[in-house]
Amino acid sequence: MSDFSVIGKRVPKLDALDKATGRAQYGHDLDLPGTLVGKILYANVPHARIVNIDTSRAEKVRGVKAVLTGKHSGAHKFGYGGDNTPLKGDKVRCRRDEIAAVAAMDDDAADEALELIRVEYEELPPLFSAEAALAPGAPLVHQDRADNLFLRYNYAHGDAERAFDEADEIIEQEFFLPYVTHAAMETSFALAAFDLQNRLTLWSTTQIPFLLQRDLSEALGIPGRDIRVIQPVIGGAFGRGLDVYPFEPICALLAKYSGKPVRIAFTREEEFFATAARQPAHVKMRSAAKRDGTLWAREAHALLDAGAYISWGAVTPLVMMETVASLYRVPHAKFVADVVYTNNIPTGAMRGYGNPQSTFFVETQMDILAEKLGMDPVEFRLRNANVPNSETPQGLKITSCGLRECITEVAERIGWERRAGPNSETRLANTTPPQETLQIQTRNPKIKRGIGIACTLNVGGGARIYRSDGCGATVKVDDFGRVTLISGSTEIGQGSETALAQIVAETLGVRVDDVTVINSDTSVKPWDVGTHASRTTFIAGNAAWIAANEVREKILDHAAQMLNVPANQLEMRDRQVRVRGDGKGVAFDKVVRAMHYREDGIVVSGTGWYDPPTKLVDKHTYKGNISAAYGFGAQAVEVEVDTETGQVRVLKIVAAHDVGRAINPMYVEGQIEGGAQMGVGYALTEELQVREGRVLNPTLLDYRMPTALDMPPIESVIVETADPAGPFGAKGVGEMGGNPTAAAIANAVYNAIGIRLNHLPMTGERVLRALQEKERSAAQA
């Protein structure tokens, strides 16, 4: 299997040189002749009835070509919850509600017009927490609903109640998880243009071009066949583009009413409050184990503040429950999650889709159980690890599984043997640490070091959360041997198009740079559900492989006639079709020409459609095999805690992930390392501060993402298990890297200072307060 010529090679991204030299064209770089500037007026009151909107003065501003309100956008509902409209006509449900929009010839005119719009509100009592929204008699966010509970997930396997009675060790805690946001470096963008047949073209930073076609059709009340979505180069997304946003249909409406192309480019501030952050959660959780080291039961109750409108982010409990029920072998599990409407900002999907949250609370409790059992945390994890060819009680069919290898790799590489025993209390007070822990003590006694570990389970073979989890592909070859892959999938910077090109190149025996990937226009590419759930290399990769194989068979058949040997004796390699073990062959492009230039010539092309053999989860039990493969990983980190300031510094991350097979190791590492960076931010510094429905820190200075100085060296370890269903054995990797990082850091912080922080992020302030609290209670004792 090591005989690949392209698979497994560290090939630079197809678009890397364009990006390095400033040639790549992002949405923000686009303009059509006569394009107008579109801008939106947000409500900035959390909950109110709209009494009147006066746009008369705005309409008179020179250069203004359209001023729109709810009456122009009509009552077409859209979005996952079917609860949103582009512009709001009657009621405000959160501060970022879109009330009016203008299109003007320049920024100044648009700004002036926005300032001149007068809106009269009658304020209603606001709901700023999920708890308040569920209280009896709470005002309704959506009048057509009986209450503010959008959805309750209720999952169970085994008998959790009884299991906790039977268990020997139990830990029960509450966890508080903050709003965090994608903060892609390129802000959201749309450019809309109608032709004279009323057909819409929308250039967008979306991750879901075909679902967006449908969403726009619903929001605008025009047929989907009259909507074409084009994706320019996208400057990061991380789940942001998984939902339609009001600004996209608003952009289209402005184009329709002004008769001109209109562009809306979010400011950084808008990006912070008007995209969809990861929802905050309040979680009550308990875990139990048997004395012999068997993980026995888990039970978690999560309360999720969805905000004013429901997005795909409402489905994240499905992923949280997967971690609770299926990360390690768990005989008994119960998971309940309430997704609640409030008057806070609407939330959505973000990389990991519930998994970084649940991995944090699940893996914190794994560590505590190990300590209670007097077991080493690595040993406890190895003992309960998922294994290949098994089915979890939830119905996940685990085929390839390298969790144990991942755990062993990271433990060895971080130097786990240097870690102090489970009772770090002793070490904190101990001025002469035992010999084996000496190596990780620092000279400054105020600085404490610790090591921690955490693992992850993530879908790696698609995730069926929509009727289809499919993707289409077409491969064609021209007379000169240039191969074109037209893929339904979406490149958002992660590098999937390069992986797809490698899959096609390997199949046809050509070079990666012989392959062009076209994947950005719904009028050209076949359907795909979108880039999410780490699915693109697996799903789109299988589709591309099927299409390339059809081409391969056609070429081999024809070459067999040309060479007068059976097709099964031929191989395709080095741009040649040749007899295996023999030197005899013919150039790849020559075969293609021979297939074109003859009577009854054919187009040398193939198509592929891949929809994995998975099921939507059962509506009532939430059980079922949602993915065709599962990825696993473990991360070990070493941290340093300054006990005078509370600052936590990550010194090293070792991340081992089972990706089936790395089509391109360089970008597999890139996904792991980038994920870990988001995990470090989630653990230590990132929090979108939302008070009374208002985002208080909408700048990249105040929303603290890790810089190059904050990030430690990361050692990525690729574990290959050759998945039976993956293209060349590959599984998805897009989200896994960020799932276990925060838990590993929290476990390392505990190892350093003996304190469990259940409230992310673990800022210096929080750590210091916890240290002071601990000192006080020690003094009192």
């Binding site: 400033g22 892609a184 810089t707």
Partner: protein, 154 residues
């Protein structure tokens, strides 16, 4: 709004421009000169995506008023390609996999070129300090840092 006549050398070409008093260097580069390689990530100097060399110093071009750039020499990411040959930093960041979405890349390339002018053989810590003002959300920085250190070893 008052307007100013400025002359500006960008990537070796002299431009005579009439700019609005409020216009930033970034806006002039992107809109008037259509040099789209200089990216706007925040417009407030927090992210470094719009970093350019101004008289050989790296500056966030969103914080420089165009009028203040009068008579200065600017180099953008496009200007680092000489006779069709990308700069060593551009080649290294490509080869090491230091690019994913690529939106921060031009700013990081410029900051790195500025570093290497001052310090041709930086170590890992020096590279991290030099690009600490350039936010990247995709890569975790490791491969970017590896690329710049490697250029210093060439």
């Amino acid at each position: 709004m008052p307007r100013y006549h400025i002359s500006l050398t960008v990537n070796g070409d002299l431009h005579e421009l009439n700019v609005d008093a409020r216009q930033t260097l970034m806006q002039v580069l992107r809109q008037d000169l259509e040099l789209h390689g200089t990216h706007e990530g925040c417009g407030s100097g927090d992210c470094g995506a719009c970093t350019v060399l101004m008289n050989n110093e790296p500056v966030p071009s969103c914080l420089v008023l165009a009028a203040d750039a009068h008579k200065s020499a600017i180099v953008t990411v496009e200007g680092l390609v000489q006779n069709g040959e990308p700069h060593a930093v551009q080649k290294a960041i490509v080869a090491h996999g230091g690019i994913q979405c690529g939106y921060c890349t031009p700013g990081i390339v410029i900051s790195s070129v500025a570093l290497l002018q001052e310090n041709p053989h930086p170590n890992e810590q020096e590279v991290r300090e030099a690009i600490a003002g350039n936010l990247c959300r995709c890569t975790g920085y490791q491969k970017i840092v590896d690329a710049i250190v490697a250029v210093g070893h060439e």
